[in-house]
Amino acid sequence: MTENKGRVVSINGNLVSVRFEGNVSMNEICYVHVDGTKLKSEVIRIRGDIAQIQVYEMTIGIKCGDEVEFTGEMLSAQLGPGLLGQIYDGLQNPLPVLAEQAGWFLERGNYADGLHAEKKWEFTPTAKVGATLRAGEHFGTVPEGPFTHKIFVPFHLLGTYTLKSIAEKGEYTINETVAVLCDERGREIPVSMSFRWPVKRAVKCYAERLAPTETMETKVRLIDSFFPVAKGGTYCTPGPFGAGKTVLQHTTSKYADVDIVIIAAVGERAGEVVETLTEFPELIDPRTGRSLMERTIIICNTSSMPVASREASVYTAVTMAEYYRQMGLHVLLLADSTSRWAQAMREMSGRLEEIPGEEAFPAYLESYIAAFYERAGCVLLPDGNKGSVTIGGTVSPAGGNFEEPVTQATLKVVGAFHGLSRERSDARKYPAIDPLISWSKYKTVTEPVKCAFCRNILLHGDEIGSMMKVVGEEGTSLEDYIVYLKAEMLDAVYLQQNSFDLIDADTSKERQRYVTDKLIVVLGSEYALADKDSARSFFNRLRQKFIDWNYTAFKSEAFAKAENEIEMLYADGDGKLGNKAERLLKGGV
C-alpha cells in the first residue's frame, strides 16, 4: 500500500505539485524527501497525474525531481489515554518532546508520536467475552487524571463485532492488544487502547444528537445572564485588536463548568501560549481540586509556524474534543482565532489560483466554517450518557469591522454572538462585550423577563446618553437623567467584571440570580431625589456599595454586611418599588 511514489514538478510557496503513479486520494498524507528529511504534506487537489500538495513545513530547498512518498492515510489524530495536559502543535506533535529532540527551534521534518508509547495505564475491562459491540462503545477503562477514560471500539470500524477475548485487569501500554474483536464474517481484529481518526471527519458514533438546553456557566455575568452559551452550543467573539478577546477566553478556560477544556491557539502570539503554560499548572481547578492543566489540552500553532498546519490545527482540536465527549464528558473547545484559520485557507486558495470570493477568501469559506461549528453538539451516547462539545471561536475582523466575510459567515452558524467593541475597551469596561449588539439563542441562568427588564434600562439609558451629548446635561430632564444613571450603574456593577479578582471573576449562577433580584429592586424603584447633583451622588454611592459587594464571597459574613449597607442606602434614598419590578420579583410577567 505504501509503495506509491511521486516526483516534485513545481514549487510555489508551500504548494508543491507532484507527478504520481498509481492512485492517490484527496487529503492523503505524503512526505517530500529533501536533504535526508521528510516533510509532511497533504494532497489538496488532483488533476490527471499531478497531485497538488500543501507542505506543513517550510519548502526552502525543495527541487524538481525530489521524491514524494504517499502514505495512503488521511491526516489523523492519535486518540487514547494521555492526551490531557499535553501541549501539541497543529499536527499533534508534542512540543516538549520536539524541544528535547531539536532544542530551541522547531526544525522541519522533526515529528513525534502524539501519545507516549512506553507509559503503562491501569486497564480495567468492562465488557464480557461474547458481548456485541459497535464503534464508539467501550469495553474497558483506564484512570486518566481526575477522569475515567473509556477505551472504545475504534470509531472507524463499521458494523457490529463480537468480543472474542479481552485482557485481564492490569497495566498495558497504548499499543499493546487489549481485546480481540470478531466481525460478522469471523475475521479477528486486535485492538489496543489507542487508534487514529482522520481529523477532518466528524465523529458520529452517538445514538442521537440532542438540542443544547443546559446552560454552560462561564461565571462571567454578562455572558451567563445576558448572552449565555449552552453546553453543546456554539458562540463567537469577534473584536478589534486590543479589545480583550484573548483575556476573555483565558478567563473562560479557567472558570467554565465543563470537564475538559481544549485551547486551540491558531495563528496567534506565542507569548500568550507561554502565559497559559506558565499559569495553568499552578492553578487549582475548583471542581476537582487538582491542577487546571490536568483537564486542559493545548493545541498551539502560533502565527510564525507554517500556515498549512495552522489550517489543520482546528480540526485536530475538535477531533480530540469529540473523543472525550464520547466518554460522557462535557468539553469546551476555544479557538483563538478562527480568522487566522480562514486566512490560512485564503493563502492556499490563492496559491491554487482558485477564483476568489469576497476579500479574496475562497468561495467555500462559509461551508467550511459552518461544518466546523456543526461539530459541536450535545449527544446521547450508546451507553445512555450525555456528552457535549461546545465551541467558542474568536474572530479578528480586519479593521474591527464586523461586515467582513469571516464574521458574517460565523454569525450565520453560531448560537450566541459576543461582539467586543473598541469603545468599551478604550473606556476600560471589561469584558468589552457590547450589550447593545450581542445576542444569544440559549437559556439564561436568570430569567428571560428579568434580563429583558435590565436590557431595557440599558437601551433606554444609551438613548438618553447619546441625546445628552447633543443637548448637554442641562437640557435633559431629571427623570431621564435618573434612567441614564441607572443604566450606567447596571453597566458598572453587573456587566463589568474584574477577571483578575478571584471572587469577582467567579460569579456562580446562584449569585447571579441573587444579585439580579437585588438590582431589579434598585433599578425598578423611584427615588425622592431633588436634583441631578444629588441623583448623581446617590447612584455613585450605590454603585460603590455594589462593587464592594461583588468582591465579597457569596453568602459570607462580609457579603451580608455589604448587602445590608446597600439596603440602608436604598432606604436612605427613600426608594419606592415600582409596579413592574414588583411583579417581576413575585414571578409574574
Binding site: 514538478v9 525531481g65 478589534p240 507561554v274 502560533t302 490563492g350 480586519a398
Partner: protein, 431 residues
C-alpha cells in the same frame, strides 16, 4: 560546481525566468548584467522554468545575461565582527569595511518552540517617561510605533537605540531616506553606541527586492546574538515599506491580491518576522520595535491593522508625542508591579486625570464656562504635556514618578487625585 545559464525566458518587473534543472526553492543565483552583478532569489519553480526575483531590479536585464546558481539560500555572516558595521539588503558592506563571509547563517529560519520560551518579565529601560512610566517596554516584547509620515519616529528610534539598556542593537532600515540613514549613523556614533550596533540599511533609492531581505537579516543576526546570552534590541523602520515591497512583487507575479492589493499572506509574513521576538529560557532575548507608518493616519489600513493583531500593543506617535490613549503595552503589568510601589497607582491616576483634562478642553473649545475644577485640570494637562509627554524629556523612571507627584501636588489636593491615601501619604511632595 555551480551551474550557469544564459538564456533568460522572460523579464517582468523585478522577476525573471530561466529554464534550469536541479534548482532548489529559494536558492540564490548571481546574475551578471551590463550594470554589474546582482543576487537573485528563486521564488517559484514550475518544471524547469524557474522564477527569480532580482535584487538589483529587472532594469537593463538582457535575455542573454548570465545566471549562475549558487547552490545555497540567502545567508548572513555572524560573528562579533558585525558590531559597528553597516550592510545593505544583499548583505554587502555599505561602509568601507571588508565583506564578511565567515560562519554563514541562513536567514528566515524556523520559529522558536513555544515551550522553550519564558514569560516576559524584565523591564527594558529607555529613560523616556511615556514609555518607562506609562507603557513600559518589556524585554522580548514586540511593539510597533504607529505613526503618520512626518512624525519624528526615526528620532525616537535613535534615542531609544542610544538609551535602552540592551547589549546589542540591530537596526534594520527599509526604504529609508538617505538623510535619515546619515542621521542614524551620526547619532549613533556621536552617542557612542555604534560599537554595539549592526545596521542593515535599504534606502529608498535601492532596489525593492533588497527591502524584503532587511527584516530577515536583521532578525537572524539578532537571534544569533541572543543565543549567546545577549539582550538584543531590534529596531525596524519602516515596516509599511516592507509590506509595500511584498505587494509589489506579489502583483508582478500575478498573485491574487486580498485587501488593497496586499497579498493574502500579509499577516503570516509580518507575524513570522515579529514572532522572532523571544526570551530564551536561560539565554538572551530579542526585543523588536518597528515603525509602521499609517497611510492617511488610518489604523484600519491593512498593514497597521494586521500588525496590531500580531504585536503586544503599540506606541502611537502623534503630534510629536507618544499618545497616552492609543498607546498600549500589553506586557507592562508583568513588570510595573515590581518597579516602585506607587508606579501603577500613579500611572492610572495620571491617565485618568489626563482624560478628564481632554474632556474639559473639549468643553472649553465649545465655549462652556470653566469651573474651578476645570481650571485645575487645564493647568494639570499643560504641565503633564510639557514635563512628561514632550519627547525631549529624558529621565530615569524614578525621576519620572517623582515628577508625576510634583505635577499632581502643584495642581490638586491629595483627595482629588483618587489615589489610595497610604500612597499619597508616602509620596506627596512637601514644599
Amino acid at each position: 560546481m555551480s551551474k550557469v545559464y544564459n538564456k533568460i525566458e522572460s523579464v517582468t518587473g523585478n522577476v525573471i525566468t530561466v529554464r534550469a534543472d536541479g534548482v532548489r526553492y529559494q536558492e540564490l543565483a548571481q546574475i551578471t548584467t551590463r550594470f554589474g552583478k546582482s543576487l537573485a532569489q528563486v521564488n517559484k519553480i514550475d518544471g524547469n522554468l524557474v522564477s527569480l526575483q532580482v535584487f538589483a531590479g529587472g532594469q537593463g536585464v538582457s535575455t542573454g545575461d548570465e545566471v549562475r546558481f549558487l547552490g545555497h539560500e540567502m545567508r548572513v555572516s555572524f560573528s562579533e565582527d558585525l558590531l559597528g558595521r553597516i550592510f545593505d539588503g544583499s548583505g554587502e558592506p555599505r561602509d568601507k569595511g571588508p565583506a564578511l563571509t565567515d560562519n554563514m547563517k541562513s536567514i528566515g529560519g524556523p520559529s522558536v518552540n513555544p515551550t522553550k520560551r519564558i514569560l516576559a518579565n524584565r523591564m527594558m529601560r529607555t529613560n523616556i517617561p511615556m514609555i518607562d512610566m506609562f507603557n513600559t517596554l518589556v524585554v522580548s516584547q514586540k511593539l510597533p510605533i504607529f505613526s503618520i509620515s512626518g512624525e519624528p519616529y526615526n528620532q525616537l528610534l535613535a534615542r531609544i537605540a542610544l538609551q535602552a539598556d540592551a547589549d546589542v542593537i540591530v537596526l534594520g532600515g527599509m526604504g529609508l531616506k538617505y538623510d535619515d540613514f546619515l542621521y542614524f549613523k551620526e547619532e549613533l556614533s556621536n552617542g557612542g553606541a555604534l560599537s554595539k550596533t549592526v545596521m542593515f540599511i535599504h534606502t529608498a533609492s535601492d532596489p525593492t527586492v533588497e527591502c524584503m531581505m532587511i527584516p530577515d537579516m536583521a532578525l537572524a543576526v539578532a537571534e544569533q546574538f541572543a543565543l549567546q546570552d545577549k539582550d538584543v534590541l531590534v529596531l525596524l523602520t519602516d515596516m509599511t515599506n516592507f509590506a509595500d515591497s511584498m505587494k509589489e512583487i506579489a502583483i508582478t507575479q500575478e498573485q491574487v491580491p486580498s485587501n488593497r492589493g496586499y497579498p493574502g499572506d500579509l499577516y503570516s509574513q509580518l507575524a513570522s518576522r515579529y514572532e522572532k521576538a523571544v526570551d530564551f529560557a536561560n539565554s538572551g532575548s530579542v526585543t523588536v520595535l518597528a515603525v509602521t507608518t499609517m497611510p492617511g493616519d488610518d489604523v484600519t489600513h491593512p498593514v497597521p491593522d494586521n500588525t496590531g493583531y500580531i504585536t503586544e500593543g503599540q506606541y502611537y506617535l502623534k503630534g510629536g508625542r507618544i499618545e497616552p490613549f492609543g498607546s498600549l503595552s500589553r506586557l507592562k503589568q508583568n513588570v510595573n508591579g515590581k518597579t516602585r510601589k506607587d508606579h501603577r497607582a500613579l500611572m492610572d491616576a495620571m491617565i485618568r486625570l489626563y482624560s478628564s483634562y481632554k474632556e474639559t478642553l473639549e468643553k472649553k473649545n465649545m465655549g462652556f464656562a470653566m469651573s474651578r475644577w476645570d481650571e485645575k485640570l487645564l493647568k494639570y494637562g499643560l504641565l503633564f504635556e510639557n514635563r512628561l509627554m514632550d519627547l525631549s524629556v529624558n529621565m530615569p523612571l524614578e525621576e519620572s514618578l517623582d515628577t508625576g507627584w510634583k505635577i499632581l501636588a502643584e495642581c490638586f489636593e491629595k483627595d482629588e487625585t483618587g489615589i489610595k491615601s497610604d500612597l499619597t501619604e508616602a509620596f506627596w511632595p512637601v514644599n
